[in-house]
Amino acid sequence: MQGTSTITTADIWAALESVKDPEIPVLSVVDMGIVTAVSHQEGSDAATVTMTPTFVGCPAIDMMKKDIYHAVKNLGLASVEVLVDMDTVWSSDRMSADAKARLEKFGIAPPPVADGELTAEMLDRVRCPHCGSTDTTLRSTFGSTLCRAIRFCFSCKQGFEQFKPL
């Protein structure tokens, strides 16, 4: 038998906004498009949150799962379940425009719109998050985390990271 609660579905989404991606602390799991569904009936004290990893082998997944559980549980719900969904195709297009702007401010060039494709142009003319120049080049499609590539800016002569289009 489910109990009742005054916690709303909107409260749950707000709590999820407080859960940050451990590798990118300026973005929440909602900004990243990692949370794919919240299942909660208004007035119920039970909720299920569904999430999907960005890259299947993302090592931060268990940590985010725990963080999501605690953030939602701490609202005062009696029962919280967090499910990992391997069917939803995560794409960097799931990140909001606002999230991309914050990513750039944090020092990581945001991913261009991928639309399920990956083209050479996409890896070209990426704007440097330090100086804004697009005179940059791809140094390595693999970087410090699974979701990042390494680039170099000819204008300010600095290396920088780019969130990969996926």
Binding site: M86, D87, T88, W90, L118, F142, L146, I150
Partner: protein
Amino acid sequence: MNTEAIKDLLYRMADDALIIGHRNSEWTGIGPMLEEDLAFSSMSQDKIGHAQALYNILYTSFGEKNPDVLAFQRAEKDFRSCQLVELPIGEYDFSLVRHFLFDHAEALRYSLLEASSFAPIAGLARKVRGEIRYHVMHADTFFKQLSTGSEVAKARMQSALNYALPFALGIFEPSAYEEALIAEGIFAGEARLQELWLQKITPLVAAAGLQMPAMDTAKAVYGGRKGYHSEYLQPLLAEMTEVTSIDPSAEW
């Protein structure tokens, strides 16, 4: 659905991903340049993630043991990986050629599986498409770059290709379930995959200025899919499971 057929397919794929992931992670710290060290390390992490997702399907859909037990507590003869993936990393030319041959087969396998009638594998296939595209792009870039480098580089790439190709053909060792897999729309089968793979890599090998070894004389190295492995798998497993075997029940 023929569950034995699906399980066999999942074990092949998961074991391939785990073993190639472990092997290529041996480049971490000793890659020929920083970017390549990062590339092999990242791709290994992806592959091990794919292995985990595949073992998880075996666990949740078929009641097999949990992914950690499947990865770390099985005997060598229970591994269904092809022999290509267990070979030592060797020199960089071999690792790169193996990466090129294996990843093209893997990418094509997943792309066929996107249409699988077995929903969990179709879902995973769609999910990993984007990451595998990066692996293939990396393989193609460096395969061509090294093959079109100096004469020495070209010769080394050619000899690595000649050595690796029979093992790569072992990827497509038919299972006892080919007909069932095809009839039930689970997977188009190893023969079809090999055909698509040859169509894909032959022009890439030519564009890199290398010779494709003659297919009529190249003898596929089979056995891995039935649990017969080379002398290299057992030492790899011993190393990979060294920590877990101290205390298999430890909580991490």
